[in-house]
Symmetry: C2
């Protein structure tokens, strides 16, 4: 542990001091007490660490040197230490993703898309679940100052002043997925869930539904507020008066969707239900079926996010796609670009929503040949 660097000038094998200190020529070379380093390789090849490093990185080196170093590296099983490399390069090749709920399939889809882009660039993805708690998210943002990652993608469902300041003085690039103020000077990927809800309402109205209910998430979240506004605006546009009995709020989870729908059905009789996300929609479906409603015959159902879950249900759920994979991909690209060039101006990407119609709001066919289902 105290490899005094005496004998660095020792004639003979000039670079052998490490080996000398270790006291054993061959054996210890494999495991001084840890793993072989550039020094180990250099000593073994009989060259300087500079030469060893160069060869290992594929820059320069005479054929002979290259041969010797490669051989030595192979013999001792040299693997570069990522930490040391990071200290030198000032980057960890790690990118973080912070989402509210890692169990929500919409984030799984987003994560997969991000992972693909990130891995493609040779980096790795670090995933954080924030539980949607502000303190958690800002703490995460602040931790970026430690520089343990090269950048972060965050998808907050609430955006506070704290977020903004933490975002502003982050030493590493951050891309936000979600609605941000128009003038926020940061990379941002967004969609328009307000429009998404409109798509759902339009479809239901077009297929003859009039008593359209809405099961939303918390109104004090960005998506919750947008979807509420979207729902009200869409009904108004169709000249359908809003019955507050047909609107319920919970959080963005399955259980909440189930319970909220239960409350709603206790006081009103909708002929259609729009849900603020698929988790809620699945909960709603459960309640509807449990209470003996036929879907879509009695009640048509439309979810949002178009997750795998929507296709797994019976009947399969119609759902508004907010392009989660696309948003993830785009966010990852923006982030990588900014990591490569921090001087870039703030950019903004927008992904348009689209409606995917499936059995839950389509032709009422309770039991049908599987082929129909598969291709639906």
């Amino acid at each position: 542990m105290t490899p005094a660097l005496i004998s660095a000038q020792t004639p003979g094998n000039v670079y052998s001091y490490r080996v000398e200190v270790q006291g054993v020529g061959r054996k210890r070379l494999q495991e001084p007490d840890g793993r072989p380093t550039v020094h180990t390789v250099a000593a073994r090849a009989g060259v300087s660490i500079a030469s060893a490093s160069r060869v290992l990185n594929g820059v320069g080196g005479s054929p002979e040197t290259v041969r010797k170093v490669r051989a030595a590296a192979a013999e001792v099983g040299y693997v570069p230490n990522a930490i040391a490399r990071s200290l030198q390069s000032q980057r960890t090749e790690l990118v973080a993703l912070a989402v509210e709920d890692i169990g929500n399939p919409v984030y799984v889809a987003m994560m997969r898309a991000i992972e693909a882009v990130v891995a493609e660039s040779g980096r790795q993805l670090l995933v954080h679940a924030t539980g949607g708690r502000i303190d958690n998210e800002t703490a995460l943002l602040r931790r970026l100052a430690h520089r343990y990652v090269d950048g972060m993608i965050i998808s907050p469902i609430r955006v506070t002043a704290e977020h903004l300041t933490a975002l502003a003085d982050s030493p590493v690039p951050v891309v936000v997925i979600g609605q941000l103020a128009e003038d926020a000077p940061m990379d941002n990927v967004r969609t328009d869930s307000r429009l998404g809800i409109a798509l759902a309402v339009d479809h239901l109205v077009a297929t003859g539904r009039r008593r359209i209910g809405f099961v939303n998430g918390p109104l004090d979240t960005v998506p919750g507020a947008a979807r509420d506004a979207g729902f009200r605006a869409a009904l108004a546009r169709h000249g359908i008066p809003l019955d507050e009995n047909l609107v319920e709020v919970g959080d963005f989870q399955y259980a909440a969707g189930r319970e909220a729908t239960e409350r709603l059905l206790a006081r009103a009789e909708p002929d259609a239900l729009v849900c603020a996300n698929d988790l809620i929609a699945v909960g709603a479906l459960h309640t509807l079926l449990a209470l003996g409603r036929r879907v879509p015959t009695d009640v048509a159902l439309v979810g949002m996010d178009d997750t795998e879950l929507a296709r797994m249900m019976f009947p399969q759920l119609s759902s508004v796609s907010l392009g989660s994979a696309e948003r993830g991909r785009k966010a990852a690209e923006l982030l990588l670009q900014r990591i490569d060039d921090p001087a870039l101006p703030p950019r903004r990407a927008q992904v348009a929503p689209s409606l995917v119609v499936r059995a839950s709001s389509g032709t009422p066919v309770p039991a049908q040949p599987i082929r129909e289902e598969v291709t639906s």
Copy 2:
């Protein structure tokens, strides 16, 4: 970029060389070109970096020194660099988890449990999705040599010789979740899915089912093989002859479960179906309902893993719990212990399966009051 360390001996402020080099007294202190370091803080406080470091780490320092350093650190907004710290401490405070499919809720549950333990210890979790591909997994294992994480938890569904050797010469601790050879000298957390399948079969037999089908995952996977063996053994134990027409194989995904069930129903008429995991079970449920079978009246259904998904379905699915959260928690504990003490002998933890009976194999009540459902 070439902060020649002249003036280190300059009289006056001895530790000011960095500041000197930066050329500006105050302004640049906040951002030499990156962030403030211990040097910045030390210079500003007028003490040595050693003292600064000590105070920053809460070890030693006279009240006066502590005050000055704290003040300086606060003024410049000092945050320790995680990478440099890692190089020194030889640990990253990062732990990796490698699972096949991050979209499978069973892994989400496992991940959450692991995350809780890992976060509790002040570390962070890095998640890898392997897609179950061997090359992918061994590459991951080999990458551990870079020491970018302090340890890894891996849950392979296939275990090859490559895995074993990669596992054996990993320089950092690895805990395997899954079945390993009895004598494999490594930390291992397992369950007994063979017994789990037996639980399911016993239950179905006890409730009067006789034509019990089985939809499994690939037989060349460890869990696939175990579950197949378990199914056959259980039937035999009950003296029920096995009808191969009642056995189907796909992979461990929803779509495969759906298709496999379709094939099975095309040639046989089971009165119960055991599925090798919940994803398959959900697919099976879809096919059953689509083909007009009533669940559980016509066909009882039992899944495995007891994921959130099972509770989301209508009817809710009975499922064999393999204690995924528990296994995750246990694995994380074993890993952290080993990181703290690499000399520990290999340990093995076992989590027992249990059956959770729900509507899909219970009393046939297609539509019932929601309350019943909620508490089921």
